[in-house]
C-alpha cells in the first residue's frame, strides 16, 4: 500500500514542486495540497493521510498550531515539519507540538522521500543537537506512570529510531502488538507523539542521544 501524503505549504511553487518530486517515488502518493494550517487540518480529517508535510510559517493558521491540532485529533497521522533557515526556532515548536521529524528545504531532495517513509513507519529521526535543545526546552511530563518491562523495551527501541515493523522483528512480536504497546507508553507518559516519548527515554537515561541523522 502506498504512503498517502498531504502537502501543506503556502507557496504554490513549493507545493507543485513537492507533488512532482514525490510522484517520482512509486511508494508515495500525494493525496492533497493545503495552502495554510486550517486547510491542512480540514484536509487531514477528510483524507486521513499517513503523513503531512507541514510548512511552519503559513497564514491563517501556522504549521505549529496545525500540527498540534492534527496530533490531538488524529493521532495516527504523523506530521513532518518542513523548514528553511528563518524558521529555525519554529522547528522546536513543531517538535513540541508532536511532529515526528523535520526536513530542511534544501537541495537534498533524496532525504525528502526517505523522511516521509520513516515518518510513516513511526521512526523518530532527530539530530543530537536538536535532541539536546529539545531536552532543555521541553518540560518533563508532569506525571508519568511506571512502564512494564516490555513497554520499556518498546520505548527503548522507539527512541533508537526503529519503526514499528523493526521493533516487532527485534522483539519477536506482532506489529499490531507493538502499536498497542506504543499507545500504552504514550498514554502512561502523558505525551502525544513518539518524538516526545523518545525524548523521555533520553531524559531518563534509557537511551543516549542518537547519531546525527535529522
Amino acid at each position: 500500500m502506498r504512503i498517502r501524503v498531504l502537502i501543506a505549504d503556502d507557496h504554490g511553487v513549493v507545493r507543485q514542486g513537492l507533488r512532482m518530486y514525490l510522484s517520482t517515488d512509486p511508494a508515495l502518493e500525494v493525496v492533497g495540497e493545503a495552502a495554510n494550517g486550517a486547510e491542512a487540518l480540514r484536509l487531514a480529517h477528510d483524507l486521513k493521510p499517513d503523513v503531512v508535510l507541514m510548512d511552519l510559517l503559513m497564514p491563517v493558521m501556522d504549521g505549529i498550531d496545525a500540527t498540534e491540532a492534527i496530533r490531538r485529533e488524529l493521532p495516527r497521522v504523523e506530521v513532518v515539519a518542513l523548514t528553511s533557515v528563518l524558521e529555525d526556532s519554529a522547528v522546536y515548536g513543531a517538535m513540541r507540538a508532536g511532529a515526528i521529524g523535520y526536513l530542511l528545504k534544501d537541495t537534498q531532495a533524496d532525504a525528502l522521500c526517505q523522511g516521509v517513509k520513516a515518518a510513516a513507519a513511526g521512526q523518530v529521526l532527530m539530530s543530537p543537537a536538536v535532541t539536546a535543545r529539545l531536552l532543555r526546552e521541553v518540560p518533563a511530563p508532569p506525571h508519568t506512570q511506571p512502564l512494564t518491562p516490555r513497554e520499556t523495551e518498546v520505548l527503548r527501541a522507539l527512541a533508537a529510531g526503529m519503526s514499528n515493523r523493526e521493533i516487532a522483528a527485534t522483539l519477536v512480536i506482532a506489529e499490531k502488538t507493538v502499536r498497542a504497546h506504543v499507545s500504552k507508553v504514550l498514554a502512561k507518559l502523558g505525551v502525544t507523539s513518539r518524538t516526545q516519548a523518545a525524548l523521555h527515554a533520553v531524559r531518563t537515561g534509557l537511551v543516549s542521544p542518537g547519531p546525527d541523522k535529522p
Binding site: 511553487v13 514542486g17 533557515v85 528563518l86 529555525d88
Partner: protein
C-alpha cells in the same frame, strides 16, 4: 604726634594744623563736646597725603592759613583720594569771601578759633551727613548691582530658553553642544568652555567641543574618569567651583598651556542618574572668581546638555530600530519569494532527474539531458547558499539562534559556491559566548573571507574555531598573494575594524602575512569579555553624532 584717648564718641580725626597749641585746643573742645578723639596732626602736603592713604579717618579738621599748606590745597588733596570725609575749616579770622570760597571748594563747614564751641555740633552734624551720603551711595551701588544681576539673569534665562528650543528642535548633537558651550563661555565670562562625552567604555571622557585659547590641545586629550579636576567632578557626580585650580591636587596640566592661575567650574552631565559627560568653564589669570550663582547656571546648562545627549541617543536608537525592522522585513520578503522559488526550481530539476534515470532512452541523450539538469541543480544550490548568508547578514539575531558554528559553516559554503574556493573548516562545538562576541567573530570571519576571495586570489582557505586560554580563537588562513599588514590597504576591508572589534572585547587580532606568502588572520577573545567594570556585554549608552 599726640594720640589722645578718652570716653565718648570715638572719632578718628586728622588735623591739618601748624600750631601744636591750637591742636590741643581743638581736641579739648572735641572732648568737651562728648567725643573721644584719636588724632594725627600734619602740616605738609606730603604728610597729609600719606596720612589719608595710610589711615582710617572719620573727619578732617583743617586750619586755613599755614606756611606750607592752605585750606584750598588741603581740600584738593582730599578730593584726589575720593574719600568722602567731613572737612571742617577751623581758622582765625577769615573773611566772608574766603569762607564761601572754601565751602565752594568742598569744605563742609568753617569754625572760627574764637568761637570753638561751634566745633562739636558742627562735627556731629557733618558726621551724620557723611553717613547719609555713604548710605545713599551704598544703595545706589546696590541698585546698579541689582540691575546688572537682573540683566545677567535675563540673559541667562534667554540663553536657556534658546537652548531648550534647540534641544527639542535639533537632532544634530554636536551643534547643540557647541551652542551650549558658546553660551556658557559668554554668559559666564569664561575664557574657555569645554564639553566632554563619556565614551562607551564608561571610563573615558572625550572632548567634543572646546572653545578658548587651548581648544586644540584640549580636543586632543581625552580625560580618564576620576583624573583631573573635570574627571574627578564627573566621577563624583556633583558640580563644583574650584578657585585657584592651579593649586588643586587634582589638576592636570593641559600640555602646551602655560602654568598660570585659573578658576574652573565643572558640572557632570547626567540623565536619570546615568553619567553622560561633563561640561566645564575656566577663567585664566587673576580675574574675579566664579560665584555660586554662576555654578547654578552652569548646572542648568548641564541639564540641557544631558537632555540633548539623551534625545540624540533615543533618536539614533529609533533610527537603528527602524533600520532593523526594515532589514527583517527585507529578509522575510527574500525568504518568502526567492528562497521558495529556488526550492521549487530545485524540486523540478530533481523530478526531471528522477524520471530521466528510469527513462528508456539512448545513453547519449540521457547524458545530454543530465548535464543541464546538474547545472540547474548546482545553480539552485548556489542560490540557496547565497540566500542563507544574505538572510543571516540581514538578520544578525539568526546568528544567536543558529549559533556561531552554523553561521561560519554557512559562510564557508557561500565562499565555496560563490568564489569557487577550496574551503576547509575545523570548528569546535558551539561555544557558550555572549552574542556580541559571536557577532564580532562572525564579522571578522566574514571580512577575512571577503579579503581572501576579493584581493588575495586565494585558491584554498582554512577556517578554524577552537577554544584557547580561557578564550576562543578564530583563524582564517589563505594561500593567496599576501600583503604587508603594516601598510595601509585601502582595498582590503576593515583590517582596522577587525582589530578594533577584537580589542573592544578584550581580545586581540594578529595578521601574519607577507607578499607572496598568503595571509593568516587570527583573532582571540576571552570567553568572558567583562572581567571587571562595564563592558560590551552590558547596556551602554551609545553615542550617535
Amino acid at each position: 604726634m599726640g594720640k589722645l584717648i578718652d570716653d565718648g564718641t570715638p572719632l578718628r580725626v586728622l588735623i591739618v594744623e601748624d600750631s601744636e597749641d591750637d591742636t590741643l585746643l581743638i581736641l579739648r573742645e572735641l572732648r568737651r563736646s562728648g567725643f573721644a578723639p584719636v588724632a594725627d596732626r600734619v602740616e605738609s602736603p606730603e604728610a597729609l597725603r600719606a596720612a589719608l592713604e595710610g589711615g582710617q579717618w572719620d573727619a578732617v579738621i583743617c586750619d586755613y592759613a599755614m606756611p606750607r599748606l592752605d585750606g584750598l590745597a588741603a581740600l584738593a588733596i582730599l578730593a584726589a583720594t575720593a574719600l568722602d570725609l567731613p572737612f571742617l575749616v577751623v581758622s582765625g579770622a577769615i573773611g566772608e569771601e574766603v569762607a564761601v570760597g572754601a565751602m565752594k571748594a568742598g569744605a563742609h563747614d568753617y569754625v572760627m578759633k574764637d568761637n570753638l564751641a561751634r566745633l562739636g555740633p558742627a562735627m556731629r552734624r557733618e558726621l551724620k551727613e557723611a553717613e547719609v551720603r555713604r548710605a545713599k551711595r551704598r544703595a545706589e551701588a546696590e541698585n546698579v548691582e541689582l540691575y546688572q544681576e537682573t540683566r545677567r539673569q535675563a540673559h541667562r534665562l534667554a540663553a536657556l530658553l534658546e537652548i531648550g528650543q534647540d534641544v527639542s528642535a535639533t537632532l544634530h548633537l554636536p551643534s547643540v553642544l557647541l551652542r551650549i558651550a558658546t553660551h556658557a563661555r559668554e554668559l559666564l565670562q569664561a575664557d574657555d568652555s569645554d564639553v566632554y562625552l563619556l565614551e562607551a567604555d564608561g571610563r573615558t571622557l572625550r572632548p567634543i567641543v572646546s572653545l578658548g585659547n587651548y581648544a586644540e590641545e584640549t580636543l586632543a586629550m581625552s580625560l580618564e574618569l576620576g583624573r583631573g579636576i573635570v574627571g574627578s567632578i564627573a566621577q563624583s557626580g556633583v558640580a563644583e567651583l574650584v578657585d585657584h585650580a592651579q593649586n588643586d591636587p587634582r589638576a592636570v596640566q593641559v600640555p602646551g598651556s602655560p602654568p598660570e592661575p585659573y578658576g574652573i567650574m565643572s558640572a557632570p552631565l547626567r540623565y536619570r542618574g546615568q553619567l553622560l559627560g561633563a561640561i566645564s568653564v575656566g577663567r585664566l589669570g587673576d580675574r574675579e572668581t566664579f560665584r555660586p550663582a554662576d555654578l547654578q547656571f552652569l548646572q542648568s546648562l548641564a541639564r540641557q546638555a544631558a537632555i540633548a545627549i539623551e534625545n540624540a541617543r533615543l533618536y539614533g536608537q529609533a533610527r537603528r530600530l527602524a533600520a532593523l525592522e526594515e532589514r527583517q522585513r527585507l529578509a522575510r520578503d527574500l525568504h518568502d519569494s526567492v528562497s521558495q522559488v529556488l526550492y521549487g526550481v530545485g524540486l523540478g530539476a530533481r523530478t526531471a532527474h528522477a524520471w530521466l534515470a528510469g527513462a528508456d532512452i539512448p545513453a547519449e541523450l540521457k547524458a545530454g539531458l543530465e548535464e543541464p539538469l546538474d547545472f540547474l541543480l548546482s545553480l539552485v544550490e548556489e542560490g540557496l547558499a547565497e540566500m542563507r548568508v544574505l538572510i543571516l547578514e540581514l538578520r544578525p539575531d539568526l546568528l544567536e539562534r543558529q549559533g556561531l558554528v552554523a553561521a561560519l559553516a554557512q559562510q564557508a559554503t557561500a565562499a565555496r559556491v560563490r568564489h569557487k574556493l577550496d574551503v576547509h573548516t575545523a570548528f569546535c562545538p558551539e561555544p557558550v559566548l555572549p552574542f556580541l562576541v559571536k557577532e564580532a567573530l562572525y564579522r571578522i570571519a566574514q571580512e577575512s573571507l571577503t579579503n581572501a576571495a576579493m584581493h588575495a586570489q586565494a585558491g584554498r582557505l582554512e577556517i578554524r574555531l577552537a577554544p584557547e586560554d580561557e578564550g576562543i580563537a578564530l583563524e582564517v588562513q589563505d594561500d593567496g598573494v599576501g600583503f604587508d599588514p603594516e601598510r595601509e590597504h585601502p582595498g582590503r576591508l576593515g583590517l582596522r575594524s577587525m582589530r578594533e572589534r577584537a580589542a573592544e572585547l578584550g581580545g586581540h587580532l594578529e595578521i601574519v602575512s607577507s607578499p607572496g606568502q598568503g595571509a593568516r588572520v587570527r583573532a582571540w577573545v576571552p570567553l568572558d569579555p567583562t572581567p571587571d567594570g562595564p563592558g560590551p556585554g552590558q547596556t551602554r549608552a551609545s553615542m550617535p553624532s
